[in-house]
Symmetry: C2
Subunit: 482 residues, 2 copies
């Protein structure tokens, strides 16, 4: 067996074959005839570059993190204790944001379009007037991402306690909120059909809308952060959510070919037929909606590139750890697209496992049930298997509320209790996380298997999300415009 | 004598009296009647907040830097060796950027103006169309500042070697360049009168203009960084340059009263009479020029606040060190205003001491003369005085080029050589920095005196800059429009 810390091998053939492909995608919008949605081609190219850069830079920079800045961690669930580079999310985030900045001229410059000889007509998507506006929105998103990166890295360097870091994403969201306000952003939301007799079609949330936006960023960031602890868990969550958002975005693009979504299978009356430029899929020809989902793709495609590249090194047994930086940046990226492209409700549907994990964790997060420093599963070196870890009620027996909650959770199969046979008092309970829950229900398994199960859970969550969004949402919303 | 590391005392009366003043300035634009240039009032308020926040947060956060992240330094020019918090520029930069973000709605939102009941008329400075454009420019500047902060902090954490860090500001300037390009930025420059017969009134630099912008940011950042080494040197340079830029900006504002600049004293034929709203000082009624200098003020005023607050703690004997972060952020701030407000040539005039120091340093920077790790003056504990430090030619005698340069410098009084009396070979030379030059010319002095001399030099440089800009520039430029 190779020593655990040797970086994973990289093939030069991969590098040599991917660079030309990526370059071609980036250059394609400049060549005649200009393809439809030229900036999207460039975005795909940049995403491949993001993948390559992450793949090669993480192992190249890792030793510097360990040596120069003492940013290293011990893998808690391994027999060896070699130091592993921490905070590699910083490398990912830097690549991601730098590429997003270099991407700016493609969607937001009329010069690019005119370079290709096609005149200054760029797809009719964005008029010159709204171009400046769109650019402001894009830049404010970058600012928030960069703040999330800086704050995430500070968290790694200063090792901020988790109770203190919960509100950090609020700070990173400030640029989003400020620009949304300065640009006179819409604070109206569509009211679900059953409530319309009371509230009307639209209701203006006003300042509450800003509260909602800041809470969204706090949720997306922290919910990924608390579902952590095993190799590959953070990055695989981010990857699946990003892919889900991309699939959703693709539904709204003006496809050149016809396709038909079998909505009747999902209980909808209407068949959705999609096709032809500007038919724009689910956007029903609304160029505004196409623009929003393009915006989302510009952020999600490179994120997938970065996550895939990093996952190679973070996969069991991990050669690099993401640190908090990765959770901050991916969480903020999801908030950005949810807010700016106006599909935050759909976005939250892709967080079903995170919501489940959050609700399950609440008793421990709010101190009703004791919360040890680490809630990761327990590693048994002899069998190489993970078992559910436990929180122990020491001298202080559980309060009435804690006992009640734990007994309900135990009845639902969410936790397993150890009870004093003499008096029925709870002595121990498995920690309230989705990882321990999965181990409890599916039996002990090794770390690699567990992360695979987690990925499957995330994918299943996304499938359910699509069913809810495009099947059931028709019951409470019409028009499918958000 | 108090132990050196005890933070400097802060008066609560100062805090209690400044907070209401700052709040009043911030709220003033919202009150009827709306003052002229409402956002400028808010900017002054935010700058006072920047001062207060820096003053109180630097000592509050310093111990965390030392304990948690090992970011501490020993003061080389002191008898004691207590650890002093390093990288406090990060605190300054965070306060600065966060306040600039919170400031966004004041100049860029029509809602603020309408809040005050004055309708949506905001000064006529910015039409709604150019508002989005201006916001993009502002946001790209913030992105560059934030990248400079992150990179500066990484430099502090990873302790990057100076040869490797020279190009770092280029990366931080990328957002500026990208947005400048996407917005179809002007790459024409006005040709000096003597060259006009050959080049015409305007010449399009094209890509060279982008090169110029990136080199400007590299210069402003690194030139402050290499003029460092004694308590208060970095922050005082930044402070004087920022104040100089502000004075220059004020000349272009629409003052409600008449004033007259005695230009004939500076050799100009025309008297400059200034007065009345929209007469706009040197802007001669050009609202575009007023807008640019307002933009510059929005960045420079809070920078002065931050620098003043930090200077209190960095003053001899220093209780906090700026780290590279402060140099990166202040340097980038100067580049931002120089580029975005189109007065980069004027800006460079305020860098006369830095240009002198850079030219003087070149033989050491480019390896012609050996460059020791630290070129700070030599501290003599017995007298508490600083003397010029020396670079020693060890076994390798100086090359011909080095000897030639050093002899010329010595003739000009810029360095002092120690020569082998037997064969005339140079054995030692004082290090080629402005600090050693000042000590050489003015004799040994203590650290506090030296930084005071440095400040006077910087002020003298700014006075010369104004004379050149408004006196002599009339010989090579007309119209005074850039």
């Amino acid at each position: 067996m190779a020593p655990p810390l040797s970086p994973r091998p990289l093939s030069n053939i991969l590098l040599m074959s991917l660079v030309p492909v990526a370059s071609w995608f980036v250059v394609r919008p400049l060549l005649d005839p200009v393809p439809p949605l030229p900036a999207l081609w460039a975005s795909v190219g940049f995403s491949i570059f993001a993948f390559i850069a992450t793949l090669y830079l993480v192992p190249a920079l890792g030793p510097t993190f360990v040596m120069k800045a003492n940013l290293k961690g011990k893998d808690l669930l391994k027999v060896y204790s070699d130091p592993i580079p921490e905070s590699q999310g910083l490398v990912c985030a830097s690549i991601y944001i730098l590429l997003l900045i270099l991407f700016i001229p493609f969607p937001f410059s009329t010069s690019i379009a005119s370079l290709s000889g096609g005149g200054s007509k760029i797809e009719g998507l964005l008029g010159a007037a709204s171009l400046h506006h769109e650019l402001s929105v894009y830049l404010s998103s970058l600012l928030s991402l960069l703040m999330a990166t800086l704050l995430g890295f500070l968290d790694d360097v200063f090792d901020i306690r988790w109770r203190h870091k919960l509100p950090i994403p609020l700070i990173a969201a400030i640029p989003l909120l400020m620009v949304y306000y300065a640009e006179g952003g819409n604070t109206h939301v569509v009211v679900p059909i059953p409530l319309r007799p009371f509230l009307g079609l639209l209701v203006n949330l006003g300042p509450l809308y800003y509260l909602y936006m800041s809470l969204l960023s706090t949720f997306t960031t922290n919910s990924i952060n608390i579902l952590a602890g095993i190799n590959g868990s953070e990055v695989s969550q981010a990857l699946i959510i990003a892919i889900s958002v991309i699939v959703n975005d693709l539904l709204y693009l003006p496809w050149p070919f016809d396709f038909r979504i079998p909505m009747h299978l999902l209980g909808n009356q209407i068949e959705v037929e999609v096709g032809g430029a500007w038919h724009a899929g689910m956007a029903y020809g609304s160029s505004e909606l196409v623009g929003r989902h393009l915006f989302s793709l510009y952020f999600m495609l490179p994120l997938v590139g970065v996550c895939l590249g990093f996952m190679y090194h973070n996969w069991y047994p991990a050669r690099a750890f993401p640190g908090d930086t990765l959770c901050y940046v991916t969480g903020m990226a999801f908030s950005v697209v949810g807010i700016q492209a106006h599909f935050s409700k759909t976005l939250l549907l892709f967080f079903i496992p995170q919501i489940f994990n959050f609700l399950l964790s609440c008793p421990q997060l709010f101190g009703i049930v004791p919360c040890p420093r680490h809630r990761v599963p327990r590693f048994v070196p002899d069998t190489n298997l993970l078992h559910p870890s436990k929180t122990v009620f020491g001298k202080r027996p559980p309060t009435r509320l804690a006992s009640l909650i734990l007994r309900i959770f135990a009845t639902l199969g969410l936790t397993e209790l150890t009870v004093d046979p003499t008096n029925g008092v709870i002595l121990e309970a498995t920690n309230l996380t989705i990882l321990n829950f999965l181990l409890l229900r599916l039996g002990p398994m090794n770390e690699k298997k567990l992360v695979q199960v987690l990925i499957c859970t995330q994918i299943a969550g996304s499938v359910i999300a699509f069913v809810i969004r495009y099947g059931l949402a028709g019951l409470v919303y019409d028009g499918d415009r958000r």
